[in-house]
């Protein structure tokens, strides 16, 4: 009975949403978006502060933001403040998980023993995955990816170790230290920009030639910090989830 009521309710809601969205001609149809009507057009030509007609890969230099990946340029430059908030969200939820589960003393154990291949394989693959993660966040301004997937990849490498060896536990104190260090440095970079140029999180370094590894000013630095922070936070969450109540 309840099911039918809910379905009818959602049908009405769905009709309301669909008709509300698609009866409005200003809501452009899927695929027909014109970027000139949006703020993004200035992100594409990188001309928010400087006038710029065209940006060319490997040629244009010293633009307002030097990232070849537009998404990265938004995430770490134009809307960097959102990213700081996002890192904070992850920080606070890992803290919340730690408050809830961190005090438990027991260890979650699985019933089966990991076989030889998993045990040896995990130890071999671990550095590879971790390195891939690091590669991803160092190249965040050139290729897809960046701090968040890179950091998560490091955490999943640790996860693999947990799966292979149920007695293995990461040393959380060092992860906590890395997390605190990376977060503080992110804010301090922002404050440094505020002191030198009057804008918080200002890109105060030379942005170089688009497409070079050493380009884009503070973007790679910030992304490495974000990667480290996300990696240690997620490792913390996973480690806390592997704790269980001690049997009485």
């Amino acid at each position: 009975m309840k099911r039918i009521a809910v379905i009818i309710l959602l049908g009405v809601l769905g009709f309301f949403i669909f008709s509300g969205i698609y009866s409005n001609e200003a809501f452009t149809e899927f695929g027909n978006v014109d970027l000139n009507n949006r703020v993004s057009n200035k992100f594409i030509t990188k001309s928010v502060t400087d006038e710029n007609d065209i940006v060319e890969f490997g040629k244009s230099s010293n633009l307002e933001t030097g990232s070849a990946n537009y998404v990265t340029s938004i995430v770490v430059n134009y809307r960097s403040f959102d990213t700081l908030g996002e890192v904070t969200v992850l920080f606070i939820s890992s803290l919340g998980v730690a408050l809830l589960l961190g005090t438990l003393g027991g260890k979650l154990t699985h019933k089966y023993r990991a076989n030889f291949i998993l045990r040896v394989g995990a130890k071999t693959i671990f550095p590879l995955i971790a390195l891939t993660g690091i590669y991803i966040f160092i190249h965040g301004h050139l290729t897809p990816g960046g701090g968040f997937p890179g950091g998560s990849m490091i955490a999943s490498a640790v996860l693999l170790l947990y799966l292979a060896d149920e007695n293995f536990r990461a040393k959380m104190s060092s992860f906590k230290l890395a997390e605190s260090f990376a977060g503080s440095l992110y804010v301090l970079i922002g404050i440094f920009g505020l002191l030198t140029s009057g804008y918080f999180l200002n890109n105060f370094m030379n942005t170089g030639v688009i497409g070079d590894l050493f380009s884009a000013g503070i973007i790679p630095i910030v992304y490495v910090l974000v990667g480290l922070k996300v990696g240690s936070e997620l490792t913390g969450i996973i480690t806390d989830f592997l704790k269980v109540e001690v049997d009485e």
Partner: protein, 114 residues
């Protein structure tokens, strides 16, 4: 097509939230809602025939037609926030299970652990 689907996914997520009484499945429904929302956000920036918003040696200048990069940046934020809330929700769910020894909201609702 995929935009309509994303809205339907959100509705299915809300349906799950209203119908399910199992804590874990409520969190699953919440995740379905979030996946739908994320697809919707990305779809708002899609340009048919557009190029992925990365300058490379192939797509080497900004005069090409790119898809809107801003919604993609927003989705990155949204995904990470979703992970944060899911982890916290599951941690609370575990605590609930320990406290009430049940995962059913109807059963838990009747209990009072004062």
């Amino acid at each position: 097509m995929i935009q309509y689907v994303s809205i339907v996914l959100m509705l299915i997520g809300i349906y799950g939230l209203l119908i399910d009484r199992n804590i874990i499945k409520i969190i699953v429904a919440l995740n379905i809602f979030e996946v739908g929302l994320n697809i919707f956000i990305v779809s708002v920036g899609f340009v048919s025939g557009g190029v992925a918003p990365i300058l490379t040696s192939v797509n080497s200048n900004s005069a090409l037609i790119y898809v809107d990069p801003l919604p993609q940046a927003l989705v990155l934020t949204s995904i990470v926030i979703g992970l944060g809330t899911t982890a916290l929700a599951l941690a609370i769910a575990r605590k609930m299970y320990n406290a009430y020894n049940s995962l059913d909201l109807d059963e838990i609702g009747g209990m009072d652990n004062d």
